[in-house]
Amino acid sequence: MASNKKYWQSVEELKGSSIVETLRNNEFVEEIPTDEFLGDKETLEGSSTSRRDFLKYVGFTTAAASLAACEGPVRKSIPYVVQPNDIVVGVADWYATTMANGFDFANVLVKTREGRPIQIMPNKEANGETNARVQASVLSLYDDKLRLKEPTKGGAVVTWADADKEIIAKLEQLSTANESVVLLTGTLASPSTEKVIADFVAKYPNVKHVTYDAISESGTLDAFEAMYGKRALPNYNFGNAEVIASVGADFLGDWQGGFEKSYSEGRQANSGKMSYHVQLESNMSLTGANADKRVVVKPSDQVFALINLYNAVTGGNLPSKETPADAQVKKLAQDLKKAGSKGVVVTGLNDKNAQLIALAINKALNSEIIDVANPVYTRQGNDSEVAQLVVDMKAGKVAGLVTYNVNPVYSLANAADFAEGVKKLKLSVALSTQNDDTSAATQYALPAPHFLESWGDVMVEEGKYGLVQPTIQPLFNTRQLQDVLLKWSGSTVNYYDTLKEFWSTNVLGGSSWNQALHDGFFTKEVVVEEKLMNEVDVNAAAAALVSATKASQYELNLFSSTALGDGKQANNPWLQELPDPITRASWDNYLTVSMADAKELGFENPVKDNGAIDGNYANVTVNGVTINNIPVIIQPGQAKGSFGLALGYGRKHGMKEEMQVGVNAYPFYKDGNNVQYNVTIEKAAGWHKFACMQVQSTLAGRHDILREASLKEVNDKSLDPKHTWNKPFMVSYDHQETEGSKIDLWDDHDRTIGHHFNLSIDLTSCTGCGACVIACHAENNVPVVGKDEVRVGRDMAWLRIDRYYSSRVEDKQHEEGVAMTMEQFKAENPGIANQDIERKYTEKVLGLSKGDLFDALENPAENPEVTFQPMMCQHCNHAPCETVCPVAATSHGRQGQNQMAYNRCVGTRYCANNCPYRVRRFNWFNYADNNEFDFNMNNEYGKMALNPDVVVRSRGVMEKCSMCIQMTQATILKAKREGRAVRKDEFHTACSQACSNGSMVFGDINSEDTVAELKEDKRAFYVLDYIGTKPNVVYQVKVKNTNEA
């Protein structure tokens, strides 16, 4: 049927516009400038190359190129000329040494391959523990960007000999004129170095040694000195504690060096006893996240709470003020008194008077937990001396300055004054590993070796010595502090001989030097003297403290972040990419703001459509110093009226552009005080792009992911865990209630023959420190992808530590106090398993429908409980990823490992889509040898840290945790070579080896390994067990001691 209807495409067409006419005839309205790329017609015709020829040539060259590519490259193999006796090519050597960089101190084992250190692990024989920074320090060794390579004078390279000559002449000149020279170092804690320095001072009596810690513990040192006559830090044996009260002390983080290991020792849920830990703090710290009870107290109130605690414990009457936490403080005092000598109080306030009060409480409790006889020497900085130095320098009273591995131009609050003072010096020398702000400001910049290239010794605590030995030939033209000082003192012996001599006379007492060097540590019996106690006027201390505390509307609590610490290793890409355990943000520091303040001040963290969060900027002013554009993160659990800000970021000089992230908070760090009052804040324009590895806050009611119980429940023998606090997935089978894991659609394989590897992770002792994450990076050549890629969820971490806040469910239906609480609901319904309580309560009591329920559960509570969950490939025996791979690139090994053959993978990413745990990582790019990812894998030095036993993956393939199959295979091979069975607990993965507090246990369940028992433990559970994936990673229920002692 013909139609006369006419359709117009536009009104213009109806009108019969000329444009439409043109368009109809001509596809392109404007003429395409074909001549421009074709050239003019004549040359085109004149050319003998026809289009056909051109295609022929293209075809030929392509074919030729691809054929040529078929030939492999010629590879050279260059053996040693004289092979060192202890090196067998391809076999790792381990050396025991000690890390001491002024901030992190640790007894470590260093894995070297062909003379290159590639990994650092805790020296467990020496009771060593490593945090993320210690683990990552091996990469800082190969930092060819930031490290000083040659001695320079005013920026021009000079020889060591010339530098020595000039500096010695200058030193002698200053000595004759008796002008003051200062040697400024960080905490060395090295007895032999102190001897070298003493000799140096003997030669040049005008030299004064000043110790400067970027992050100060001066208050504690002063307090301890006042009370016990020794400038040191008290030691704590948290393992024996029954009640731990911490007022703002992040002792699982960096407070006084960290006490993670001994803390975990006292919190072994299976032993039936756990310490009861109460944390009063303003920032959400790692310690607060692990506490049994966390009380939110803003910094000024912490001071009063501490005094109130003293009053409550001792019955004293020190001047103080009321705080909102007084009820809890009173309760805490009772608990402490009950615990008596097993109780301990610590405070993170870097103030002599506050520390005196804490010491006084411990004294009053007669605490055995605090050890004042064997004090710790890992912080020795003296703030008043440093302050005096800056004043003197500015006044021109100091003529010479030699700095060693400190960066005051960056890390002093009054850095500008310091820099000005440096200009007035007659002699300024920076001996430094890094080409930092300070070495750029001084006349001479002399390169010092990394600790992995040096000799040395450390005395961490009284009688506990560690030896430092080089594990690699110096990479650059460096010379260590002690050798420099010996040289300048006119000595002809080198430091190694001096050290050996010092040890044989002062330390070893006839024991073997070689043995001590092999072990990396030496324990000397020390006679504990009865301490002469100085009576301290607590009243005066409290009065001074109260008067110094100027409570204000907003207060700032500065802290050191887990990743960067004091900022010494800011140019380390592993650490930059390590997400903060609490906020899960990487590549940044930021102002943490409480939910209430954020609402008032109008700060937001919107989730963008790429799954990342943005944040507002704030301009913050403290005591007249303003830092603009600090990004803001809203932190659940942050005390109202307080902000948190991490030190150590915002370094610029000598840093790679990618690492110049964050803001430098040191200008706020006045007098080394981590608490600053009188803070004003205003919202600034613009949005900051955060790179968070995890955006969601809570479990949203899905407690199949993570189970928690109280110590009381775990200890209660009458409770059947399988029906109460650790209820597995149940199904009805043959009309019987049966455990889901017992039912199977598939015929199961026989897994009882040979090794079967399992990894057990105890969520109770896991503090979330992140050491395992870095160990995994180092062991498995995991690439760093940079901030932008992390932001869009393309991070490559094989092992991550998920953080979950507890939810806040608002009861909108009932008046306050009308509806029953969750605790009441739980008590009334003993049949409901722990993991279902929250959901059932919300549904039954609060009457929320399914949709509203999950919505409500997604919001974190104002002061949430926090749980950490290390998450990596679960190596499911029924792996969903394996069945969907079209090319069988991922398959299951008989030893329980889910194997990934990279060379077989074609990159469909089906496996990642089908993985319920989101642990598979796709190589969107080549991360090695790619200028777009200019990190450690893109330069010759950084590549030296790669593990030669693990392949560097290329673009387009999937990767994931392999359960360190290279390590299990190596252990098996070692046993085979030695013709023996594998020993008990001989198997390890990088993460289990790095875990200092024994939270991760790896082994063979078909043997007598510890993990075989843990797998059957009453606390054992599997993540998302209802899916039936049957993982080989088993978790242990998180236990909190809510019993209130």
């Binding site: 078929c70 030939e71 492999g72 010629v74 590879r75 050279k76 193999s77 260059i78 053996p79 040693y80 000329v81 004289v82 092979q83 067998v88 090519v89 391809g90 076999v91 026989d750 009882t752 023959i753 040979g754 690139a889 398959s891 090994g893 008989r894 030893q895 490992q897 194997q899 990934m900 053959a901 990279y902 060379n903 077989r904 036993d949 693990v950 392949v951 560097v952 392999s962 199959i965 290279q966 295979q969 098996i972 091979l973 046993a975 085979k976 070579r977 013709g979 023996r980 069975a981 594998v982």
Partner: protein, 429 residues
């Protein structure tokens, strides 16, 4: 750089026999003088056991070269020196002291146990030197190329015979036609008819296309599968090192040099100091040594230069007999290149498995120039893992697992594959 072709066995053998004959004739001409062989032999035996660690006939080693020493010193002096050189020096003999000083005061061992005859034999040996080996005439015969007719020759001959038959046939036909026989369609005529038929048959067309496609696919597949398989890869090395001389003729154990093989994933290329363990004393090859490389033959002159390369690398001054410290590592060309994504461990195979090196590396002891003997493909690995039974050797590691697996599979001895040696993750991580 990359040369993958084998030496032709024929040319190799021809060259060898030629060289052999040349040497033979030379050696005959060289040994016209009379030599007391028994004395020479006795002397040589003593020299090798007592003197050779420090002396050579024609070269300085730790001590001076001893060739023709009888011409320089009197017999009495030599005897006195050999028996107790210290006493001789003590007696104030100027010559003795001079030698002692010249050789950096290194003490020569005294040999008081030697009698006059023995010393005379040694000295006789130093005077007459080596006697060339007298060739066995039978051996000469056996090396002549008697079974050398290569296969291609046979093909050419066969082709020639066929061509000849065709020519003869056509000639005969032409002759018979010329004689007046009726013209038959002939072979060609029949063939063209047949060709017409074939050209019109669609079924045959289809068949041909399918056949052609299959062949093309087969060839393409085969070619592509060879990409990156470097079987026979025989790069030119910076030093013309002959495994045949070292591992074959001198029977040096593979693991003397490749000592890492039993401990490590790598077999290890020996460092130059390992070479120097022997070559400190061996600065030249025996006179008649020949190394036949790909396209050239190295004679003593060339080979001595190759040894000199080791000295250069090790920084050894062959004149002064001391290390200069000026070293230069040897840049060997790697023959066996596994891709990074494949993990291979020598110690697993050598120490645990007890596999002979030759199983994968071929007859290295016969190779003048090393080449890649095995394809090193995954299929090649897997084939071996499937067939090879686990060598238990009383290894306690295997005791339990083997017993259980043997029961499970119902076999006496399980294969590597049954033990899990076929899993991806065992080699790819």
């Amino acid at each position: 750089m990359k040369s993958v072709k084998h030496h032709s066995k024929l040319t190799q053998r021809l060259l060898q026999s030629f060289v052999f004959l040349l040497v033979l004739s030379l050696s005959f001409s060289a040994h016209s003088q009379d030599v007391d062989e028994a004395r020479q032999k006795e002397g040589k035996k003593l020299f090798k056991s007592l003197c050779a660690s420090c002396h050579k006939l024609n070269k300085k080693l730790v001590g001076p070269a001893l060739g023709g020493v009888e011409e320089k010193r009197t017999n009495e002096w030599l005897k006195a020196w050999i028996r107790d050189n210290a006493a001789l020096r003590a007696s104030g003999d100027k010559d003795a002291i001079a030698i002692y000083e010249e050789y950096k005061q290194s003490n020569m061992t005294a040999f008081p146990q030697l009698n006059d005859k023995q010393i005379d034999d040694i000295l006789y040996y130093t005077t007459v030197g080596e006697i060339g080996k007298v060739a066995d005439p039978n051996q000469t015969l056996s090396t002549t190329p008697k079974d050398a007719a290569p296969k291609w020759l046979i093909y050419i001959l066969a082709a020639a015979i066929v061509v000849a038959f065709l020519i003869i046939g056509s000639l005969l036909k032409t002759i018979s036609e010329l004689k007046g026989a009726p013209k038959t369609p002939g072979l060609m005529g029949q063939a063209s008819e047949l060709w017409q038929g074939i050209k019109q048959n669609t079924f045959l067309h289809v068949l041909t296309v399918i056949f052609g496609a299959l062949i093309a696919a087969y060839v393409l597949f085969g070619t592509l599968f060879k990409v990156g398989v470097d079987e026979g890869y025989q790069p030119i090395q910076p030093i013309a090192f002959s495994h045949k001389i070292h591992a074959g003729d001198n029977k040096i154990d593979c693991q003397y040099c490749h000592s890492a093989a039993k401990h490590s994933k790598h077999s290890g290329i020996p460092s130059v100091n390992v070479c120097m363990n022997c070559h400190k004393n061996i600065s030249e090859v025996a006179d008649d040594t020949k190394v036949v490389m790909d396209d050239h033959t190295l004679t003593k002159k060339d080979l001595d230069k190759e040894i000199a390369k080791i000295y250069e690398a090790a920084g050894w001054d062959a004149e002064k007999l001391e290390y200069t410290g000026n070293t230069k590592p040897v840049k060997w060309v790697r023959v066996h290149n596994l891709p990074d994504f494949a993990y291979f461990n020598h110690s697993q195979h050598v120490t645990v498995g007890g596999i002979k090196c030759q199983k994968c590396h071929g007859p290295v002891e016969e190779m003048e120039e090393v080449y890649q003997y095995s394809p090193l493909t995954m299929g090649w690995c897997i084939d071996c893992h499937k067939e090879t039974k686990v060598d238990l050797k009383g290894n306690e590691y295997y005791a339990k697992i083997h017993e259980e697996l043997a029961k499970k599979y119902g076999v006496d001895q399980v294969t590597i594959a049954q033990l899990g040696g076929k899993e991806c993750g065992k080699c790819h991580y």
